[in-house]
Amino acid sequence: MNRTTTAFSIGIKEQARNYVLVALLVVLPVSFITLAFAVTQDVEMPVRTLVDGETATVMRGMPEVHGVIMTPITSALIAGLAGLFLMREAKDTDGRLAVAGYRAWQVIAARFGVLAAITLIVTGVSVGVMLIDFQPEQLWWFITAMLVVSVTYGLIGMLVGAVLDRLAGMWLMLILPMLDIGLFQDPLFIQSEPDWWMKLFPGYWPVRVMVDTGLTTDVDTALSLVWATGYLLLVAVLAIGIYYRATQAS
């Protein structure tokens, strides 16, 4: 086994023993997604989305809309906390791996590989729980947007972990997805196009795709997915740079 594979496989074992993360993975999807479906009143609500390239309002059941919103909130929240924990632990200890002979790219590949694996599991569990109560109109587009927003939040968690301590970082990563996806991007709250500053949040582009492909039969937001991917890449470059600075000296 080479260094990257060793660090990756041991990193996965280490995260599997992170009981807080495992508990979040078991408890949050059920309590957020399943309960949202269970308690939401089944009434039709006007929902803003794109139809034939134009912003339009369609009538959809409130539980469906809640499902479309609560699923990415759950996934983004867990992925963000996972990214935060990874960075906090890495800041303290990964520098010693560099002294032991690991190249920077080997540790980066292993750590970001672990985050990617966690994000895949989190997304899978969140979507799986959602599918019990709700089937998106275009499942694979929906899952792709879910992955993009989850990875983006995982990387933001790493960025936050580089500048804030564990407690402050946890508070921020608990609040940020709630405000972003649960308030600013929720078409039930924001009936018209969001203000410019709400569009700067990581959930804007992917949630547009999820609302469109979750609730309508046509794909009008392919370009939004491209922008969401661009946002992800930008955050990834920042996270890699900050990780490198946090763990390497010479």
Partner: protein
């Protein structure tokens, strides 16, 4: 201020293995109305093969800062560090992954040192036997006592037989027996040509050191003659080890 430089080459004979030249380091803050703290303002030192070198100094004098720069985990603001050969580093706080077992910890760091699975296993058994933690190999790091954690911390620094061993108060938490074993180990390593550098607070240890550097006022002073009344030279240590 000159740009800092660091270089690492392979050790050959008993020559200078670590050389620090005019090292400067100031801890600053990007926040307004906060002050920066100059720690090192032109530190020079040399570490030679086969020496046991102590770095002493008051609290906050910059001992750990100096060692972190020598190891390469902290970047100096200016000055140059030259390292020759492989380095083993035992930080003051055990920098280990809490949720890994002792065996997994050896595998992770051994892989970094470029050791084969057999070499890692052999080193693990050797140090587990010598430092008496054989029964804990399958324990997670966060399930170990402070003393046992420190034994793993030290073993990880030693497992690849480094040319230079940097130890930041390595015996914290050791019982008396382990403390003595540690010094026997340090003597054996020095006799084999390893340069052992350690931050030390205990005055009674200073007779065991070949050279003593004191970090004071941002500079490094060689205080060997002043501090060491019964000097054990490298040659004497080698003769003892041979006996």
């Amino acid at each position: 201020m000159e740009a800092p430089t660091t270089s690492t080459t392979e050790a050959t004979t008993s020559e200078v293995l670590v050389r620090a030249d005019e090292i400067e380091k100031t801890y600053g803050s990007n926040l307004p109305f906060t002050r920066s703290v100059p720690v090192l303002t032109g530190a020079n030192l040399e570490i030679r093969a086969g020496e046991i070198v102590g770095i002493v100094g008051g609290n906050g004098s910059g001992k750990s800062t100096l060692m972190n720069i020598l190891v390469g985990v902290l970047k100096q603001d200016s000055g140059a560090v030259e390292r020759t050969g492989t380095v083993g580093w035992c930080p003051q706080e055990p920098l280990l992954y809490d949720r890994l077992t002792v065996t997994e910890t050896f595998r992770l760091f051994g892989s970094g040192y470029g050791m084969t699975a057999e070499e890692i296993d052999e080193a693990k058994r050797r140090f587990a036997s010598k430092l008496d933690f054989e029964q804990y190999l399958d324990y997670r790091i966060d399930q170990l006592s402070g003393g046992n954690r420190q034994k793993i911390n030290l073993s990880i620094a030693l497992m690849h037989d480094p040319d230079v061993l940097m130890l930041d108060e390595p015996y914290t938490g050791f019982d008396w027996e382990t403390y003595l074993i540690f010094w026997d180990l340090a003597d054996e390593l020095a006799a084999d040509g390893t340069a052992v550098v350690m931050i030390s607070h205990l005055i009674e240890e200073q007779s065991r050191l070949d050279r003593i550097y004191e970090v004071r006022d941002g500079h490094v002073y060689d205080v060997t003659e002043r501090e060491s009344e019964t000097e054990a030279t490298t040659g004497e240590r080698r003769r003892k080890a041979d006996e």
